[in-house]
Assembly symmetry: C2
Homo-oligomer: 151 residues x 2
DNA sequence: GTAGGTCCTAGAGTCCTGTCTAGATCAACT
DNA sequence: AGTTGATCTAGACAGGACTCTAGGACCTAC
């Protein structure tokens, strides 16, 4: 049931360096135990916590903020409202990120649509006229087309 | 119609430092023009492009990738397929980010729900017994509760 | 007993994205 | 004339999150 740092690295996707770094930064709730020879010993629950940790990180919570949360947990009972506050703030933050990305996704879809048309038109031009003259179509126009997609 | 760097900073939300930095990094499609005294002159279309730029940045496209795109644009017609490829990749990337954040949001909601219950229970305990004894409820349990929310 | 693989620590290095500083120029008020 | 405020350049500095290095220990297998 004991896991070595290499094992945890393999299963969590973090590097052993990152695991030691996270430990130094105080991101483990229960301090990592050691064998008599100094080697770290992890358990399944550490992997579970790491999975959450990675989710928090990938959703934009900084290492410092995660430590803030863990510090509260370590402080024991009595600060649950604070933890809840922190979690709620991050929840709101994630929701805001999603909204923003959805707008961006629409912008990207529109830009891609415009470019697809442009490329299709280019292909058509080429079919008609294999020497594909530039005919006044320059990069400035394309940029304008791109910008139009954002409005 | 001409805009100073300060004006653009104010309206774009970027700092003047960042604007000069973006220029050095080649993020402007049409090179920024100068007055005879060396000061930069911007126009509305620069602001429009900056708005897109900020969207690309905030959706995780690196400065280097944006430059890659702009380099294609500057190279003129003929590489539209490449640009389209690049835009599509980012579109997919944004879609993936949204999916991931939606999972995270669910996890957060669950954690918040569990904590709300926990806090409510704590309040109830306190009502029953104002000296709020710890009664075996320690931080380890809370962590386990948190982790449970992620499975 | 020695080669290979995993691990340890402390601390240096890297990459990205800005941000800030110093010293100079220029235009506009007072 | 002097002060203020915006701008310029080149380059130093910063912060976040790793990533890597050096030098050493330890275990296993051949």
């Amino acid at each position: 049931m004991d896991l070595s740092i290499g094992e945890v690295a393999r299963r969590s996707g973090l590097s052993v360096h990152a695991l030691r770094f996270y430990e130094r930064e105080g991101l483990f709730a229960n301090p990592v135990r050691r064998l008599s020879n100094g080697r770290r010993v992890y358990h399944e629950e550490d992997l579970e916590w790491l999975a959450i940790c990675l989710r928090l990180r990938s959703s934009g919570m900084s290492v410092a903020m995660i430590r803030g949360y863990i510090d509260l947990v370590r402080a024991g009972t009595g600060n649950e409202r604070e933890r809840l506050e922190l979690l709620r703030r991050h929840q709101d933050d994630v929701a805001a990120q999603i909204r923003d990305l959805q707008v961006t996704l629409e912008v990207m879809r529109e830009k891609v649509r415009v470019y697809e048309e442009h490329v299709a038109r280019g292909e058509a031009d080429r079919l008609w006229n294999p020497s594909h003259p530039d005919g006044g179509r320059d990069s400035a126009e394309v940029i304008r087309v791109c910008e139009a997609a954002s409005s």
